[in-house]
């Protein structure tokens, strides 16, 4: 891919604006709440778009196109079953508790609702995890830029991490949020031309369907298996995901998605920064609207790339060292194929922006949890607010440096990273059961929550240790205790692990809660759904009211599932 002065000028303009925003925000960032929660002043549309892009790190953008190429349209399960219902649930039922309790972080909500030990368990694992995932995505991006543009790995890592550090250090969460909104528009405007040109080239949707039908049949599936979402999920073996409908609905749609969208502080923080309770509730609902449509921008290019492999002079995916296709290159290959100098710069800038905002998202969540939930709670309580602002800025520097270290660790010891990600998956899987019970069953106790979480994590680990997928070898892919069951695919195994973890956590939490002392009702005001004062009518535009947005978004998701059934 050739990178010219014009492309460089476009990236340069973007970097200039990002840093200018940081400088402009620096003067306005006076208190710790300004730095960690944007002083709770963000308008709903800004928070909503930031919420939507906060999970769109480069790894996600690259990964969704890769999955589009590998699994076809079924990848949109991650949007239309995975994300949308969970986002609606968060907006309708959980935000009033998160926002209304005035908790400053998700772990702090756990402290208010349960106890200190549950908070520390959540805060410590979360803080660690943000660093690891930030490092892994940095590593992936460094590798990609090296492969596609020939940029030096060390240089790109230090350079981009430096920019992120600069703007988060100055403007805190607000810088992060503003950059996420810029990233949203850059992705829309950077990827849309690729999708339009690709579709024109391949003969529109019918042309794509025809091309993918042949590829699907070569892989032993029905002709329409790559261009439909539900039709072939009756049996796990009949669809490219290798997961049946039950696994998709329960594992992905319920346990994993609700766990991620409703409890991950990286996302919830964006809604907590909104200027009012109604804006906080609108945040995930507004985010759901572009989320419904984003498969067009991130999954479709991967499908088109795959369709073009079939044509003379089309796209050829390079092979990985193990001989399999390197699907991760789907998006860069499409950018390189259709965009001339100029627009190519815009496409690369969109990738850069998602890389940086993905990292900034992790760093802003990390510095908040570190400062409020670990430092203020355990190391130095009752200091002046200025002190915590200072600690937050230092934590930002530390977070960026630790992410860089994690990136190099990933480059040197890839299997350590795989192992860490696996462990975090065990820790995260049961989380939603804890929140669900905590918010909607007043009887849930702190001991119940804590023991339930630990049991869920152990349950996940045991399930993973006793099962394996299709062609896996016992080890990191499962079966390290003994193999009691074989799943048709790794994804099916992951979904099942999540379901087991959730169920164990749910049952144990209920059981332990019933035998431990309940919390008096006066300590649960505003923390559980039934004891929360209903929202006063705040002035809000009728078209943004949750009562209208929520059913609208759900109906649209249902329609998309039916159209592409």
């Amino acid at each position: 891919m050739k990178f010219t002065v014009v492309d460089g000028l476009i990236i340069g303009l973007y970097l200039l604006v990002v840093i200018a925003i940081g400088v402009a925000l620096r003067r306005r960032t006076k208190t710790s709440e300004d730095f960690f929660l944007s002083g709770r002043t963000i308008p709903a549309w800004v928070a909503g778009l930031a919420f939507m892009s906060a999970n769109m790190g480069a790894q996600e953008v690259i990964g969704m196109a890769a999955s589009g190429a590998k699994y076809g349209l079924a990848t949109s399960h991650f949007y239309w079953v995975g994300a949308i219902p969970a986002m609606v649930f968060l907006g309708l039922f959980m935000m009033p508790l998160y926002y209304g309790s005035r908790a400053r972080s998700v772990p702090e909500y756990l402290k208010l609702r349960f106890d200190e030990k549950t908070r520390v368990l959540n805060a410590a694992t979360f803080a660690f995890m943000t660093i690891i995932s930030s490092g892994i995505s940095m590593y992936a991006m460094g590798l990609l830029l090296n492969l596609v543009l020939g940029w030096q790995f060390d240089l790109s890592i230090w350079l981009w991490a430096g920019v992120v550090l600069l703007y988060v250090f100055m403007g805190g969460l607000t810088s992060g949020i503003y950059n996420e909104v810029l990233q949203f528009f850059l992705i829309v405007f950077g990827f849309a031309p690729v999708v339009i040109l690709g579709l024109v080239d391949i003969g529109g949707w019918p042309g794509l369907v025809a091309n993918l039908a042949e590829i699907s049949q070569q892989r032993g599936f029905a002709a329409d298996a790559l261009t439909t979402v539900w039709r072939h999920t009756g049996s796990a073996a009949a669809n490219p995901l290798g997961v049946g409908w039950f696994g998709i609905v329960m594992g992905l749609g319920f346990v994993l998605s609700f766990g991620y969208w409703c409890t991950d502080f990286l996302l919830v923080q964006r809604a907590m920064a909104a200027h009012s309770l109604s804006a906080a509730r609108q945040t995930p609902l507004i985010a759901a609207i572009p989320k419904l449509l984003f498969p067009v921008l991130v999954i479709l290019p991967g499908m088109i790339a795959m369709g073009l492999t079939h044509r003379a002079g089309g796209i050829a995916f390079p092979l990985k060292p193990d001989g399999s296709l390197n699907y991760d290159l789907a998006m860069p290959l499409m950018l390189a194929r259709y965009l001339p100098t100029g627009l190519l710069g815009l496409g690369i800038t969109a990738l850069m922006a998602s890389f940086m905002s993905g990292m900034a998202g992790n760093v802003t969540a990390f510095n908040t949890v570190w400062t409020y939930d670990l430092y203020q709670a355990h190391i130095r309580p009752n200091a002046a607010d200025k002190h915590y602002l200072h600690v937050g800025r230092l934590a930002t520097v530390a977070g960026v440096l630790l992410s860089i270290a994690a990136a190099y660790l990933a480059a040197r010891f890839n299997n350590i990273m795989d192992l860490l990600q696996l462990v975090f998956a065990f820790v995260n899987a049961p989380l939603f059961a804890t929140f669900l019970l905590g918010m909607f069953w007043n009887r849930t106790t702190g001991h119940g929550a804590f023991v339930g979480l630990l049991s869920g994590t152990i349950g996940a680990a045991l399930h993973h240790g006793m099962t394996i997928s299709g062609h896996g070898v016992p080890g990191i892919k499962g079966g390290w205790i003994f193999v009691a069951h074989t799943y048709p695919s790794e994804m099916a195994q992951n979904f099942a692990t999540a379901i087991v973890a959730w169920t164990v956590c749910f049952v144990v939490t209920v059981a332990v809660s019933l035998v431990t002392a309940p919390r008096p009702a006066e300590h649960l005001q505003g923390l559980v759904y039934s004891l929360t004062v209903r929202e006063r009518k705040e002035p809000t535009a009728w078209y943004l009211s949750p009562a209208l947005l929520a059913p609208l978004v759900l109906a649209a998701a249902l329609c998309l599932n039916l159209i592409f059934w």
Binding site: I10, T41, F189
Partner: protein
């Protein structure tokens, strides 16, 4: 936080649009073979310009409290 985000968005996208439009006007048409013969820099640059100017206008029209 007192800084209307529509302003930097408008500035960035208007500036990007101008770069694309100018480059679209002076570039060698041969580079558009890959974009199926369309001068996408010029065309998409105009789209960006409309968006950028609309954001700028919105940030000026209703200044935040």
């Amino acid at each position: 936080m007192g800084l209307d985000l529509r302003l930097p968005i408008g500035v960035l996208f208007s500036a990007l649009a101008l770069v694309l439009i100018v480059y679209g006007l002076i570039s060698d048409p041969a580079i558009y073979a890959r974009s199926l013969g369309f001068n996408v820099n010029l065309g998409w640059g105009c789209v960006l310009l409309v968006f950028g100017v609309a954001m700028l206008a919105a940030s000026q029209r209703r200044p935040k409290k």
